[in-house]
């Protein structure tokens, strides 16, 4: 039986529907969730992405106030902007669209957002709270993968979850969700570096394998166990040999594994389309926390 496809677009729209209802309930109590994003410069990819976030706000009913700063903005001006947003009671959530121009320190800017509004979950206070099992904002990729698994009906308790990625956006925050002693977690979590020696000896034991290394066909059929659930968060642009068009491929040899895995998140159409929705989820959460409703 071929693997089930975990449809990120479908899960994403389910969550957005739920959020619409929740935002309406909040508005009835006088709380309008507000999100501000800071975009520096005109980088086309970033501009497009901020546009997607604005559109999602509109759909879900979040009040959005994007701040567009010129490429030449100084660090001081940027920090003043962040400070204003920190103090604005209408703004519950703040993100900075990365990457920023080189003359600005991303680290300093991210650390300047107060933890209560840091919906991307990059502030050390949020990283620490999440790791210790306390309420916290967690980076979108990690929540998206966790939502994808739990909403698809997978019980994570006692499962061998192997994560090939140890960075601060994917592996570490995912581990910090999955190791907690909570109903939707309690997994045995292994963090592997992409260059871990004899990687297959780890991936072969995974009930759930999560990979994010940006290398096409990095995970092949001989590296997984039969029935494994595969979450692919890789993205590499390649030219299609037939159509000559550029397309995105993940880290898993999808054709090769489809008869052996029990489920797979595709690229594109898997985790990627869920990310903006996770920002909405965290924004609504931030608004509830600010209003003392959670």
């Amino acid at each position: 039986m071929p693997a089930i496809i975990l449809d990120g677009k479908k899960i994403s729209s389910e969550i957005r529907e739920e959020l619409k209802g929740e935002v309406n309930r909040l508005k009835a109590q006088g709380v309008v969730p507000g999100l501000s994003g800071i975009l520096v410069g005109e980088e086309p990819g970033s501009t497009t992405y901020v546009g997607l976030k604005s559109k999602a706000c509109e759909e879900v009913g979040v009040r959005e106030a994007m701040v567009h700063l010129p490429e030449t903005v100084t660090e001081r001006e940027l920090l003043i902007t962040i400070d204003k947003l920190n103090k604005d009671p209408k703004v519950h959530a703040i993100f900075i669209q990365l990457p920023m121009p080189k003359h600005l320190s991303e680290e300093k800017a991210l650390a300047a957002i107060i933890p209560e509004k840091d919906v991307d979950g990059f502030h050390a206070m949020n990283v620490g709270r999440a790791w210790l099992g306390q309420p916290a904002f967690v980076p979108a990729v990690a929540i998206a993968i966790h939502e994808m698994l739990t909403r698809s009906g997978y019980d994570l308790k006692d499962k061998n979850v192997v994560i090939v990625n140890t960075d601060s956006m994917v592996g570490r925050p995912l581990a910090s969700i999955l190791v907690q002693d909570k109903a939707t977690a309690r997994a045995n979590v292994t963090l592997c570096h992409p260059n871990t020696a004899d990687l297959a000896s780890y991936t072969c034991r995974a009930d759930i394998l999560i990979v994010s290394v940006n290398k096409p066909k990095f995970i092949t059929a001989d590296m997984i166990q039969k029935g494994a659930v595969l979450i692919d968060f890789g993205a590499t642009f390649v030219e299609d040999p037939v159509t000559k068009k550029r397309k995105t491929v993940g880290d898993v040899d999808a054709e090769g594994v489809k008869e052996k895995a029990s489920a797979i998140s595709p690229v594109p159409g898997g985790v990627g389309p869920m990310l903006v929705t996770m920002l909405m989820l965290s924004t609504v959460q931030a608004a509830k926390m600010a209003a003392g409703l959670s």
């Binding site: 790791w131 045995n188 292994t190 570096h193």
Partner: protein, 292 residues
């Protein structure tokens, strides 16, 4: 062949010698490292821990003092005390004993300790920095495990480390430390727990097995791969049939496992001996950083 017994007391003594030298250097600059503990009420386990800390400080030459607040202290009293110590230039390290009386908010109190003086690594921001690989103070138990491995020649780099137990003071911080692309780390790390089905299957994968579940003799010989390095973080007290008194044992069935393992830490005299020294090491480093 019987396993190499890793001598925690010897390693602790080596670290102590190094710390004394660093303290002497600090004193030449007019700085004496000082650790202040905060104890609210009279929890017996905390009092016993306090005696241990006072003894270690005395041996190493770290000044120490204990701020004792009555069990009836308010949250405001506690926060005021923490702020006072945060501001005091002569205090380099602050340690808050847990558990606190139930009417107090531990999380808020821990978060109030200045990260520059959080030598026990309990402020969530310290935990966050640890996971992000930024400079911070490691909680003493996992820090002790890492030192013990390094100093006994068992560098975790490139090894599969399996940690049984995922507490906030041992399992999680140790995982966070060992996955970093840093010296003494760069390992592949698995965290599991006592409730894990087929625990033996997981533990047998370990090149380095860390037992931190808080259960006497829970790691048995059939759970250990031949030649594995076994670090036992457990501290349990069980009755000794020979003497009728309680004796201290770890989480590992030492007698049986030492016949299988390549190296093993005893209890007592293993990781515990190093742990208390790491709190001293953090306090000395805090003092060094304060004059940089």
């Amino acid at each position: 062949m019987t396993a190499e017994i890793i001598d925690g007391r010897k390693i602790a003594a080596d670290i102590q010698g190094e710390l004394k030298q660093r303290i002497a250097n600090l004193q030449k600059k007019g700085v004496s490292p000082k650790l202040v503990t905060i104890l609210v009420g009279e929890d017996p386990a905390s009092l016993s821990y306090l005696r241990g800390i006072t003894r270690s400080c005395g041996e190493v030459g770290v000044l120490t003092d204990s701020a004792k607040l009555p069990a009836t202290a308010t949250q405001k009293d506690l926060l005021n005390k923490i702020q006072e110590l945060n501001r005091d230039d002569k205090v380099h390290g602050i340690l808050l004993f847990l558990p606190l009386p139930k009417h107090l908010n531990a999380l808020e109190a821990e978060s109030a300790i200045s990260p520059a003086k959080d030598v026990d690594g309990t402020n969530p921001i310290s935990a966050g920095k640890l996971l992000l690989g930024e400079e911070t103070f490691f909680p003493s138990t996992p820090y002790g495990v890492q030192e013990l491995l390094m100093r006994s020649g068992h560098n975790p780099d490139g090894k599969h480390v399996v940690i049984v137990g995922r507490s906030n003071i041992v399992g999680k911080p140790l995982m966070g430390m060992l996955i970093q692309k840093q010296k003494g780390a760069n390992a592949t790390v698995t965290v599991c727990h006592t409730g894990t089905r087929n625990l033996a299957e997981v533990t047998k994968q370990a090149d380095i097995l860390v037992a931190a579940m808080g259960k006497a003799k829970a790691v048995t010989a059939d759970m250990v791969r031949h030649g594995a390095i076994v670090a036992d973080v457990g501290v349990n007290f069980i009755p000794d049939p020979a003497t009728g008194k309680n004796k201290q044992v770890g989480d590992v069935d030492f007698e049986a496992v030492k016949e299988i393992a390549g190296a093993i830490t005893p209890v007592p005299g293993g990781t515990g001996a190093v742990t208390s020294m790491m709190l001293m090491a953090n306090t000395v480093r805090a003092a060094e950083t304060s004059i940089k």
